[in-house]
Symmetry: C2
Subunit: 206 residues, 2 copies
């Protein structure tokens, strides 16, 4: 089994790296250099027709892409500690939170990066006004998540650190890399971010 | 257990309705009228702070939102026929396909609806040029999915009809509602669409 990934700040490969560190899994990783466009090469497209990272290739050649799907598979091999829930209700709630983070937080961050960041301007046609409008969407989503954490917490899906935290943590850190900081007054969200950033897995980088 | 949903063309409530029809589950559904903004009412926000549909409320009051997460929970109660895979590899591959459909197809459809459709113009500030650019993104994503189905198929994740088909079917049908048709030359994708539309579950509407 080989993981094809990339170093930070690429947020999706980082999700798997944090997950693997939390589980204590020894997973060989091959770097695919995005700066050299290796992820768009025929070799990598044979693993993932979308030319995206990360991709996990099993010993029989089966390829699994999408960070969360890869972690879901690894959870079946290494159930402890559980990161996708201990029963059906927990699993559904964690899945809900993963999706909420993707759609409420990661979508505006991705759109800001895609349409307003100078580093992507050279590669792609941008709609800058639209791109800039995602600053407010991200801030609003952070405000919502802050209220949720103030009422619930200490982690995204409740009492336990789960895959939803990894998805949120990599999103918030990538947002900061693109220039989108957490709102000053989002105190519960900031406390959560300090909490997850203090875990050794936050430093995982291959 | 009560499902709070909405009628067609709302794509997310429809996903659960198709799933329930495929499984033969008898699930009471309460309609939350989006036209009357009932989904943004305090009553519904108490179930789902984002004011979105659908939400499943369990007998103990636990609320599960997000169409796919609701179906994942229902699968645990009604495992047959399996719609999220029969083993860990299938589950990961189906999860991957669900995410690919959400990000590659549903995102441009949602952005087109949000930023270029006259029905949302009255409610929201639109970036129309950006919105219109999603026509091409959707067409390109359909071309990619068409090639995948031509090589694989007959269903999205391979040989079996799964949750990935439901996510794709509701996306393609909602796209058509917004004015985004399947490309004429996407013959494998069109054949797949006829295949899933011929199933009795496609007509499920409460």
């Amino acid at each position: 089994m080989i993981l094809y990934g990339e170093r930070n700040p690429a947020p999706n490969p980082r999700r798997v790296r944090i997950f693997v560190a939390e589980k204590g899994i020894d997973l060989p990783e091959t770097r695919v250099k995005m700066r050299d466009r290796e992820h768009k090469s025929p070799e990598h497209r044979a693993r993932n027709s979308l030319g995206q990272l990360p991709t996990l290739v099993l010993d029989d050649g089966t390829a699994i892409s999408e960070s969360v799907s890869i972690c879901r598979y690894l959870e079946s091999l290494h159930p402890d500690p559980p990161m996708f829930g201990r029963n059906a209700v927990e699993a559904a709630r964690i899945d809900m939170w993963i999706r909420r983070i993707e759609f409420q937080l990661m979508t505006p961050v991705g759109m800001f990066w895609r349409h307003a960041h100078p580093l992507t301007a050279a590669l792609l046609t941008q709609f800058t006004d639209f791109g800039e409008s995602n600053r407010e969407l991200y801030a609003r989503a952070c405000g919502w998540l802050d209220r949720e954490l103030a009422e619930g917490g200490p982690f995204i899906a409740g009492g336990d650190y789960t895959m939803a935290d990894i998805v949120a943590q990599t999103t918030v850190d990538f947002a900061a890399f693109t220039g989108l900081a957490l709102p000053e007054d989002a105190t519960a969200l900031r406390a959560w971010h300090e909490r997850v950033s203090a875990r050794p897995s936050a430093e995982a980088n291959d």
